[in-house]
Amino acid sequence: MNCGDCENALDDYVDGTLDERARSACDTHLTTCDRCRTLVADLGALRQAASSLEPLAPPADVWRKLSALVKAERDLRPFAWGFTWQTLAASVVTLVLVASLSWVGARLATVNEPRVQALSFGAELDQLDEHFSTTIAGLESIRQTEGVSLDTETAEVLQANITVIDGAITESRAALATEPDNQVAQESLFEALRSKVELLQDVIALINEMRKGNPEGAARIVSGSNQ
């Protein structure tokens, strides 16, 4: 058994579902291969970390939607640059978790929106909020369809910070739902919206530079929209 065979069998090896002969072959290979042994240890640790999560029963259509997401991901990112199963697993987990958490946030924000607007929010404030939200939706759409061009590390930093800003937007809107005339809440909302627009503009500019195969330009463009 070589490393490739071993990698293919590792899922079942770690889950304890390999047949006796295959398991024995894996064991033999692992005694001589540091890399595969490290991988097995990592997967064991990963399995242990994941086991601390509370179990939740998925709704019936979860796997259908997951399948669609995976397919969409596959369509967006071809396997040309040597995708391994570990990379795929990481991508799927990251994609789905980010998507679902954003979806939770967006859903709760949507729940709050009618209440915010029903109260004395102020026509100008409403218009400004709508303007920002439309701009953000457009930029988000571009980011999500084109974002595959960014390197993983940069994309994650940007995504994490978009989440931070989304949290600020949600908090500000919730505050305005209870105190519509509160100036701090109003200004916090617009600061957060402004920050998000700026960040998304930077992200899209970065994506454009990366797609041109011009990583130096990526550094230059980071400051472009703010100067």
């Binding site: 990963l46 259509d61 990251t94 910070n161 500000s172 509160n182």
Partner: protein, 363 residues
């Protein structure tokens, strides 16, 4: 992997509950959903970090960047005449850039190309393919680095450049750090993930990163702009007419600052400003959830408009509050807003935080 499936199921189970029901649910349901989302996010972060580290380590090893791939280097050097106040523009993808201002009319560039690979002949071939171009333009010099467009290799170029201290310098890097010392000319420095560190650099115009930190010590400038998305910005010993510092999640720390105008903004990062307040100066600080701490130096007086939605505003200075007589004591410890003046009321401080505390502290 079943464990990964489990993780995905947890995230999806939260997000796929019917939205109509959520819209009608009582507040505790939303609170529970928030708690669940936070819990999943925490687990997801841990798992994602774990997976990323391992995948990156394996990829690095496959590409010869692991500990078993030895490093091969190739030196490069060039000296070119550069006017005292000429321009120097360097772009690099990976590797450290060190710029030092000095005397004379020359730009002296020393570079080291570095490649890690298990195969020496491959490494040597890659080193020869890394091209450093030093281009002499009218009144200036441009340095560009071309990397091989091959896969499965890793390398970088480190630069050490000495140039006339009055030269105007522009630096751009993707992952390498940028270090600048003893420069009187204007500096613009940008990096995606590398740090930017300057000292004794008088005219910093702009520094910006995505995830790298910015550290500026002993600087002067007319208008200084420093920005980062997740990196920390630390500026010490700055004398400038105006400073504008902004982050999303990184902390902002300005100490020993002398500026007529300051604008500091963050979303979740903390903001700290310690320095002199000019008599007609304008200082604006805004954070969503980070603490804002201002420690004025040589205080003659200021007006303060500080408000928070959920945090506290605390001032060590006895304020004459708007619409209320001064009692000679600092305002109470749990106050959502302070609007008033201290001393001659010269400088104007506007401070706002949604949920972070605001502290006006004495030294």
């Amino acid at each position: 992997m079943k464990v990964i499936h489990t993780t995905v199921v947890v995230a999806l189970a939260i997000s796929w509950s019917p939205s109509e029901a959520a819209a009608q649910a009582p507040a505790w349901v939303h609170e529970l959903a928030d708690e669940l989302a936070a819990s999943v996010e925490e687990h997801a972060d841990r798992l994602a970090q774990f997976i990323e580290q391992r995948v990156a380590a394996q990829q690095a090893e496959r590409q010869g960047r692991g500990p078993r791939g030895p490093e091969f280097t190739e030196p490069f050097s060039k000296t070119v005449r550069l006017d005292r106040n000429g321009t120097f523009d360097l772009q690099n993808v990976s590797g450290e850039v060190v710029i030092t201002g000095g005397g004379g009319n020359d730009m002296r560039l020393e570079a080291t190309k570095r490649v890690r690979h298990q195969n020496e002949s491959e490494a040597r071939a890659l080193l020869s393919e890394i091209q450093i171009r030093v281009l002499e333009r009218s009144g200036g010099i441009e340095v560009r680095t071309d990397y091989p467009r091959r896969r499965n290799w890793s390398g970088r170029v480190d630069f050490s450049v000495t140039l006339p201290r009055d030269a105007n310098v522009t630096l751009r890097s993707v992952s390498g750090s940028l270090r600048v010392t003893n420069l009187n000319g204007e500096l613009r420095a940008e990096s995606v993930s590398g740090n930017i560190v300057t000292s004794a650099t008088k005219r910093i115009r702009m520094t910006k990163t995505v995830s790298g930190d910015v550290e500026i010590a002993e600087a002067e400038g007319d208008e200084l702009t420093a920005g980062s998305i997740s990196g920390r910005i630390a500026i010490r010993g700055l004398k400038a007419r105006a400073v504008d510092a902004q982050t999303v999640s990184g902390n902002l720390r300005l100490t020993d600052v002398d500026a007529d105008r300051a604008l500091m903004r963050s979303v979740s990062g903390a903001i700290e400003y310690a320095g002199r307040l000019s008599r007609s100066g304008r200082y604006q600080f805004q954070s969503h959830s980070g603490e804002v701490r201002i420690t004025p130096a040589d205080v003659r007086g200021f007006t303060l408009d500080a408000t928070t939605f959920r945090g506290n505003v605390v001032s060590d200075y006895p304020m004459t509050l708007q619409g209320a007589p001064s009692n000679g004591r600092p305002p109470g410890p749990r106050t959502r807003a302070i609007r008033g003046s201290f001393g001659d009321g010269g400088a104007a401080l506007s401070v706002q935080s949604f949920s972070g505390d605001i502290v006006i502290a004495k030294r």
